[in-house]
Symmetry: C2
């Protein structure tokens, strides 16, 4: 199993605090030592960092933790390998271009071998994981159904949900996906989210001795949603998602589907 | 104009020495201050670093310079913007998946507006540069002509050369391209390469006070080719390429086309 971390915000926001918590699970407070990766969006552009080494002692993770890259959408993943060996090409998040947008995706869970029988469209996997295969299948389906982006993103979200339902029949499929603007979140077993907005308070990480006072770090109009496999703080109220639930976020806000 | 740096090697090799030279041109010894990027291949997997800040004082560039990521293929680029504003999505190298391989590309030069009239296939640009547009066009043509990879890579190289010839009619088009195994190099105005192999000697960077004794750093069977816009060392013999020339490298060796 792996850990997921996602963010959607209405202003460029650094994720250092949440990332610090997540990284502890990569070999210290958690067993997810088989690599990690993160995608930071700045407008339509994306920076990705991938490292097949445990996050807790990765020099690149150290840089990401210390260096506040401000972003409006983030997807991160730390991995405990099940299908596919530990190597760079099997490290999430995976990315492909669709509609001139950089899509990124990360998966928590395991799918049975049946996933590899799904017939692929325009995208082929580079590595050997069930996760990347499922991503290629899913994005290929979106591309086939929507050669151009529809006016209402909810059409795409509902289409993706139906296809995630199908993947969930093959095993555990918790997923974060983004097209650079929207954050699509699908829950198969466990995912929770929290939206932070004014009045901001304090929060303490569960996995490290670190407290942040968001009052000091934010402007009153900021809206920031964080999604994680397991809540990262122990003194805030997170919303757990239901199995089979799809949530869609834009500029930090949840969009009703 | 921009600066290109490429590497092909038969063993995982770090590019810290050459990268140190290149980065000096990003705002210190050269005017290329509008961002930089690098793609490191480890087998079929790729790590990329992109930064729209000047390389000479980029914290991420500092990490890359100090942290020896060993790779068998590398493509790097520092940018002096002409077409397209300075932002993450306009920062080379650009990447797309074809045949289940991660292709990366960087361009030095400028193409006239006619490039935007070329009709695109499966790939669309994310940013607004002439460079990424040309890449999408070129890779779309490869995909159309070769739905699957041909047995002889030289067929692809010659196909790419013909299409690069067409791009060269639109302006300056020096290019590095890789499918993760082969390094395709096209020269429009200036590019030079050097193959280092036993007996190894010493070399001094032109742009920084740094000398390396490759004897100390290598094994006798290592073969490493470095390609750059302008030679990076001043005490070795680099081979300048001819306008319209395509060179193909694999495991550090030049393949005759």
């Amino acid at each position: 199993m792996c850990e997921l971390l996602g963010m959607s915000a209405n202003v460029p926001t650094d994720i250092c605090f949440s990332f610090t918590g997540l990284m502890q699970r990569g070999g210290r407070t958690g067993p997810h030592k088989d690599g990690w990766g993160i995608a930071f969006y700045e407008g339509p552009g994306v920076r990705t960092f991938h490292d097949p080494n445990p996050s807790v002692d990765s020099r690149i993770a150290h840089l990401v933790r210390e260096y506040p890259i401000k972003s409006h959408v983030v997807i991160s993943h730390i991995r405990q390998a099940n299908v596919g060996r530990v190597c760079l090409e099997n490290t999430h998040p995976f990315s492909r271009e669709l509609w001139g947008q950089a899509w990124s995706y990360a998966h928590n869970g395991q799918l049975d071998a049946g996933v590899f029988e799904l017939s692929l469209g325009a995208y082929r996997p580079i590595g050997s994981t069930d996760s990347e295969y499922a991503f290629c299948w899913l994005l290929g389906k979106v591309r086939e159904a929507f050669p151009d982006p529809p006016e209402d993103v909810r059409e795409v979200a509902l289409f993706i949900r139906r296809h995630c339902d199908r993947l969930r029949e093959l095993g555990v499929f918790n997923m974060l996906l983004t097209d650079s603007r929207y954050l699509f979140v699908y829950c198969s077993t466990k995912l929770s989210w929290i939206t932070r907005r004014a009045p901001f308070g304090r929060a303490s990480l569960t996995d490290a001795e670190m407290v942040v006072d968001f009052c000091q770090e934010t402007q009153p109009e900021d809206v920031v949603t964080v999604v994680a496999t397991v809540p990262l703080t122990d003194d805030e109220v997170w919303t757990p998602m239901e199995p089979g639930e799809m949530a869609l976020f834009h500029d930090g806000l949840k969009i009703t589907l």
